[in-house]
Amino acid sequence: MPTHCPYCALQCGTRLALRDGAVRVEADDFPVNLGGLCRKGWTAAEVLTVPDRLRRPRIRAAGGRQVDTDWDTALDTVASRLRAIRRTHGADAVAVLGGGGLTNEKAYLLGKFARVALGTSQIDYNGRFCMSSAAAAGNAAFGVDRGLPFPVTDLGRADVVMLAGANVAETMPPLMRHLATPKLIVIDPRRSRTAERAALHLQPRPGTDLALALGLAHIAIVDDLTDRAYLRARTAGYEQFAKRALTWWPERVERVTGVPVRDQRAAVRMMRAATRAYLLTGRGAEQHSKGVDTVAAFINLALLLGLPGREGSGYGCLTGQGNGQGGREHGQKADQLPGYRMITDPRAREHVAGVWGVPPEALPGPGRGAYELLDALGTESGPRALLVFGTNPAVSAPRAGHVADRLAALDLLVVADFVPSETATLAHVVLPVTQWAEEEGTMTNLEGRVLRRRRAVAPPPGVRSDLRVLHDLAVRLGEPPERYPTDPRDVFDELRRASRGGRADYSGISYERLDAGEALHWPCPETPGGHPGTPRLFLDRFTHPDGRARFVDVDHRPPAEEAGGDRPLYATTGRVLGHYQSGAQTRRVAELRRSDPEPFVEMHPDTAAGAGLADGDWARVSSARGTAVARVRVVPTLRADTVFLPFHFPGAGRANLLTNPALDPVSGMPEFKVCAVRVRAYRGPT
């Protein structure tokens, strides 16, 4: 059965075979992964049979313990309590948090359910913590946000690829197959596995990537390395940005970032000398309180060099989550309706309301972004109830200790999941749902290609699909049953209509075309004869009305929290190969647990020695928000002022106990990538 890996945005092609009643994963020769898989992918089938799989709804009994219950009891309870909360506190007292791992169908129906059945404006999703900064910057620059506006396979023919804050060797290993030939320029405060493969590694101080991008732009301008014909023909706003970039001369940038002038120059020259060059950003550039401006600065650099919208070159964002792309297009984002339409746009409201059969004025306006939403839970003006689908904020949200307190303050927390995640264990009601190989649907990968997820095995008895759960709840809330289809194909057909004419137009995509093996990248409007999809955007024009890409005038500013005083170190967070996101799935796979069993903190030998720590010791890492306990890994290549923690681990090992919820003013992205900490030996029980 051909399908796709359940984890990251690469959506590697896999085939699922049944052997002796067990599902076995085989790698498919899909263009993205070319027959490769990482160990998460190879072992993905084990998630289907984890011993603690949720098989029955659970409800919190008197005394606080969760006990098994039946579906009717669970759903009736949820519906009646939602009704009561809404009656007393208004529709916005009920909130929804979705995820970038949900299929397009689930994301779409969840958004519709929130806006129509609940009538709440309070819906957002964990993509806010993922690529929202790149999305905002992409929209501003190009008029549309598609992670990679070209197929992944184009990368392999490049001469040079610059990766700004992307550690693909660790987070998306099969992508490295496309990066074997190009020379890599890697920007990362850590000497990551990707940086080890780089022809040039720029190692800026955490929180200074924006200054570095401005400095590279400066060099391009002053050393006459820009593509002037391209600037004239295809861009707007160059003059004002150029003035800004000129205030970031290389020696100033060196002082702020720590990247030697020599290396800055070498990077720009390599990019300019390449016939085919790409600039890609990842979470390292994006997860900052200035993430949008940082990405904008890198896009500006790409524009100076004439890369975007030219076949064989370009700018792209490496979307992280499995359906991080599709998940942000179809209406689970606080300010959006399906088709990447803005909820504040009257024409968008009219169109979508028409598809949904409700008056436009019945649709709520924009709601809070994910962190603001979590931060408001159970407060005077905030939601009293939260429905969680496909995310685990108790581990993955910034300032996780505080977020757990907010979750605990709710009158009602409902979690739909297939494993007892850390968030599910806090819930009043847990609803067991299907997972990847047990369901049909579509996912949109990092290159905007819509893919079919296929069912290979039957779900365990007692488990329902997310679509069915939404249907069942909606009906109990008085909605007409036909408004919430449970067959993914029906939902997709409705999604096609809802997205028609939007920025992310799916109307020409069907299950039939996908099942026939067509490679369809959105936009793919419905046209007679069948639109071929758009593998490469911007070749003729950008999506702004005048067809030009926009330079955005951005300036560097320091991170919200600087290291110094009694918190002299920067902490930066990220991922390891063996785990996915909050680890709720991958920590349940024996092989992955073995390879990456516990939280760790990487530090420079001098930092360890200064704290009296040796490799393998346990350390307490403390920020203004909390303390995480992690095993010391001494890494001589790390900057001495920086420690690194992966965020996949629960409990006292949560890296997000430390992180700073300083938000980007545009995207609402928290500052996951830099906060001030100190490190001490841990003497408590381990």
Partner: protein, 477 residues
């Protein structure tokens, strides 16, 4: 309402006005610039001089909306009693807060022939304003003064093809900041680039395109570029009765002795600190903008980082006048490699750089500057810092427990074991162990292991994995 009037339109004034707006100040702001040009970036003057950048290119970003900016506006006096500034054309502006950002002016050496008819000789240009950098005539250029600016200008002009002589009074260039070893290397570099360097020479007369030196020698100088330093412009402040001592004296709120009058940038003097260039000017501008918008910040002197700006050079001088750690072990770290044109001398107190000079060490220049700026301890391995050598990562032969395929955690021993079981190429090994099936990076290493095992003398048939693993570990590929 606070009506802010800024006298000056240089980098300090520009940054101040920008920060004020960013911090939400929406009351009236007036900016009075004496030059006819909009605010520009003085740091790039050498590039304009050399023709690498057109003059328009160095214009600073547009001022925030709402700022009333005047050009060619010369302030003649400050009436502190009525809080009014007067311009030479009769206009006047009332202020609640007056910010003096009048900058500095180039020092004009007392050499006969430089001054002419109450101004400068037409062939003499002080490298200070944009007007003095455009339309440089043909013929040889003499740079008078081998400080940072003079060296940068000489190299930029040389790169643009001019004939350049650099005349400097001291034994080596940038002598105020560099030690003799670095200074000597710099002089050699200038000479290598074709700059005619005249050290320990003084000019006595400028005459008809010739600069005459004390020893009688003459230097062709169709253009004479003055790079002999700058002095704060304080006349306005002095005439207004404000305290002036080597600059307009300010406290840690950047306030003069009149609570309504502030001074920032090259015209200001805080403690023993005056001048100091754009980094200091910006720090003062940011602090003052914060203070005037209700912030509680105080100005803290910025440690001096003097970094030569030239694409080929990596030279920095660091100096912290008042080290925070007053006691602690003092040490001096030096490294000199004249052949390699590299030199470093760091004075270290309690593990932190107090003063230092680095020449020809690009990586160390960046790293040491960051440590110095943030007063962080040097790494235990001082030499690694200076040489910028990355710490050793795994090279050479892998031990048995080394992970070859990181994507799938396959060790060398695992591959050897599979090879012994009969998997003799990368495809078969991949099938058996998953090595090479992730990012594909390790397939070369897998091939190498295969090749080496294949080259070994034949062994007995495989019978038992444990034994074979032991054999495998004994292989020296």
């Amino acid at each position: 309402m606070t009506r802010v009037v800024v006298v000056g339109a240089g980098p300090a004034a520009h940054r101040f006005v920008e920060c004020l707006h960013r911090r939400g100040h929406r009351d009236p702001v007036v900016m009075l610039g004496a030059e006819r040009r909009p605010p520009y970036n003085r740091m790039l003057l050498a590039s304009v001089l050399a023709g690498a950048l057109p003059a328009e290119a160095v214009t600073l970003p547009d001022l925030p909306a709402g700022v009333e900016a005047y050009r060619s506006a010369t302030v003649t006096s400050i009436d502190r009693a009525t809080r009014t500034v007067h311009l030479d054309d009769g206009r006047r502006f009332r202020y609640d807060a007056l910010v003096l950002a009048t900058g500095a002016r180039a020092v004009v050496p007392r050499v006969p022939g430089i001054r002419w008819r109450g101004g400068l000789s037409p062939q003499v240009r002080p490298l200070r304003t944009l007007d003095s950098c455009v339309a440089l005539g043909p013929g040889p250029v003499c740079v008078l003064g081998g400080g940072v600016l003079g060296v940068e200008a000489a190299l930029a002009l040389r790169r643009a093809g001019h004939r350049v002589t650099l005349v400097h009074r001291h034994p080596y260039p940038v002598n105020r900041h560099l030690d003799a070893a670095a200074g000597t290397l710099l002089a050699r570099h200038l000479a290598d680039r074709g700059v005619d360097v005249r050290l320990e020479r003084e000019a006595v007369r400028y005459d008809e395109g010739l600069l005459v030196l004390r020893d009688g020698e003459t230097v062709a100088a169709n253009t004479l570029l003055l790079c002999a330093g700058a002095r704060p412009r304080v006349e306005l402040a002095r005439a207004a009765g404000l305290a002036v001592a080597g600059g307009i004296v300010v406290d840690d709120r950047l306030r003069t002795d009149d609570p309504h009058v502030y001074a920032i940038g090259d015209c200001a003097r805080y403690g023993r600190e005056s001048g100091g260039g754009v980094a200091r000017a910006w720090a003062q501008a940011e602090t003052l903008a914060a203070l005037l918008t209700g912030g509680r910040r105080r100005y803290e002197p910025v440690p001096a980082v003097v970094r030569l700006r030239d694409p080929e050079l990596s030279v920095v001088a660091l100096d912290r006048p008042r080290p925070r750690a007053a006691d602690g072990r003092a040490e001096t770290v030096t490294f000199t490699d004249p052949a390699g044109r590299r030199h470093a001398a760091l004075e270290v107190l309690a593990g932190r750089i107090v003063r230092g000079v680095l020449y020809g060490l690009p990586q160390a220049t960046a790293a040491a500057t960051q440590l110095f700026d943030r007063d962080l301890p040097l790494p235990a391995d001082r030499l690694a810092l200076l040489l910028g050598t990355p710490p050793r990562t795994g090279t050479g032969d892998l031990p048995d427990d080394a992970v070859v395929c990181f994507c799938n955690t396959v060790t060398r021993a695992g591959i050897v074991a599979a090879w012994r079981r009969g998997c003799r190429d990368r495809a078969a090994l991949g099938e058996a162990t998953r090595a090479g099936t992730g990012c594909g990076t390790c397939v070369a290493e897998v091939d190498r292991i295969c090749e080496r095992l294949g080259a070994e003398p034949a062994r007995g048939p495989a019978t038992e994995t444990g034994r074979l693993l032991a054999v495998g570990s004994g292989v020296t590929p």
